[in-house]
């Protein structure tokens, strides 16, 4: 910021997914000066989702991007300001907090951490080297490339099964590979996937390595019950195949792991009011330790965090 009088926001929200946008909407509506920082894309994980069928009210035009666009519009209508910035660190000491970014130092009386989570890797040989070369974590980005080809999808939750059905719009055949003996996904989704003519399912099985020179040409699978390993290679006429990975998420806590308390899985621990141990620092969305990570819980967290931040900022003025 080049202002001679340095701007101190009432609240800076880190992350512009559903949690951050909901926090922004509530904070701005409460007349707090509100800045939402986003690193690369608005919307977080949901922006890459084709269909959001379980967020109450999102029935028509229920794609991730359209839902995000409406959330952004709503937050901005109340006066929340969005900025693209890459955060490199924080100073949470004292009543004025500092956020260090590639756009300079930003100051606020309160902070809401809503950085979300990123896809977890399979963590097998070949995966990183072939990422973007047939290994993907984003179906809406990359499914098209596998039109009329074979695709293996790893994972057993809602995301894995829903994305597998999306990929099956393009691919010739989709095989869902899951480590356990049953799926974690909602029953209705499992049923739909099981009845899908292009989808096959392989249980009790995991990836051992991903094979390919320059692009994915095969995978090695391990059956956890028999211990048997086998290589599955792409049809020679295809020459390549797709591997989509939806095996859960890892919280984006790299910048705050030494500042706030984390649970055993690395998520930030808060009380039910989204508070951390640091006065003025709140948390919302997938980055928080909780039992259900959905758009609906992210937006609820955001609303609570914003209201609590407002109360905290008000108390500073008393």
């Amino acid at each position: 910021m080049n202002n001679t009088l340095e701007m101190v926001y009432d609240v800076i929200i880190i992350g512009a997914g559903p949690a951050g946008l909901s926090a922004g909407l509530y904070a701005a509506r409460a007349k707090m000066s509100t800045l939402i920082l986003e690193r690369d894309r608005t919307g977080g994980q949901i922006a890459g989702t084709e269909e959001v069928a379980n967020y109450p009210g999102s029935i028509k035009d229920a794609t991730g991007p359209s839902l995000v666009a409406r959330m952004v519009e709503q937050a901005e209508e109340f006066g929340a300001v969005r900025m693209r910035a890459d955060v490199s660190g924080f100073d949470f000491e004292g009543t004025i907090k500092t956020v260090y970014t590639d756009k300079g130092e930003l100051k606020a009386k309160s902070i809401i951490l809503a950085m979300g989570a990123k896809p977890r890797l399979l963590d097998v040989p070949g995966e990183k080297l072939l990422s973007g070369k047939g290994v993907s974590y984003c179906a809406t980005c990359d499914a098209e490339f596998f039109t009329d080809l074979e695709v293996y999808v790893f994972g057993g939750g809602d995301t894995a099964l829903e994305e597998a059905m999306f990929i099956a719009k393009f691919a010739r055949k989709v095989t869902i590979v899951h480590r356990r003996d049953q799926f974690r996904a909602a029953k209705s989704i499992v049923e739909k996937a099981m009845n899908h003519p292009k989808i096959e399912m392989v249980l009790n099985t995991g990836a051992k390595r991903i094979i390919g020179d320059g692009m994915v040409q095969g995978i090695e699978l391990e059956n956890f019950i028999t211990g048997e390993c086998k290589e599955v290679l792409a049809d020679p006429n295809d020459g390549l195949m797709g591997v989509f990975v939806f095996v859960g998420y890892l919280p984006e806590t790299g910048l705050v792991k030494d500042l706030v308390k984390l649970d055993a899985n690395g998520y930030i621990i808060t009380d039910e009011n989204m508070k951390t141990d640091i006065p003025g620092v709140f948390v919302a969305g997938d980055i928080r330790s909780k039992s259900l990570r959905q758009v609906v819980t992210a937006t609820a967290d955001g609303a609570i965090a914003a209201v609590m931040a407002e109360k905290y900022v008000d108390s500073l003025h008393d």
Partner: protein, 105 residues
């Protein structure tokens, strides 16, 4: 900004001299849409040094695969028609693209 397709890719990229930077994007790819304004802004910064182009992989899937692009967004740098390097996925951001150009400028 060059708009690339299978008809002009060879002449404008593979047979071009100097540096050509190609943004492979797709119609359903949200991260690609987020990157596009940054990519367009970089074009003026490198005017006269690097030619910028974009390729819609939803329309030109086979061409993209022939360039070993199977994940989006991917930005590939060519020098005298030879592929020098790329930024893909998380690395496909302004800082990553600048670094890629700096290595070959």
């Amino acid at each position: 900004m060059l708009i690339l397709d299978k008809d002009n890719f060879e002449s404008q990229v593979l047979k071009a001299s100097g540096l050509v930077l190609v943004d492979f994007w797709g119609e359903g790819c949200e991260p690609c849409k987020a990157l596009m304004p940054d990519f367009e802004a970089l074009e003026s910064e490198y005017e006269g040094k690097v030619v910028f182009g974009k390729l819609n992989t939803s329309q030109e899937r086979r061409l993209a695969i022939s360039q070993r692009v199977l994940g989006l967004p991917t930005v590939v740098l060519y020098k005298d028609g030879t592929r020098m390097g790329e930024c893909t996925k998380d690395q496909a951001n302004p800082a990553g693209i600048k670094e890629l150009i700096a290595q070959h400028l």
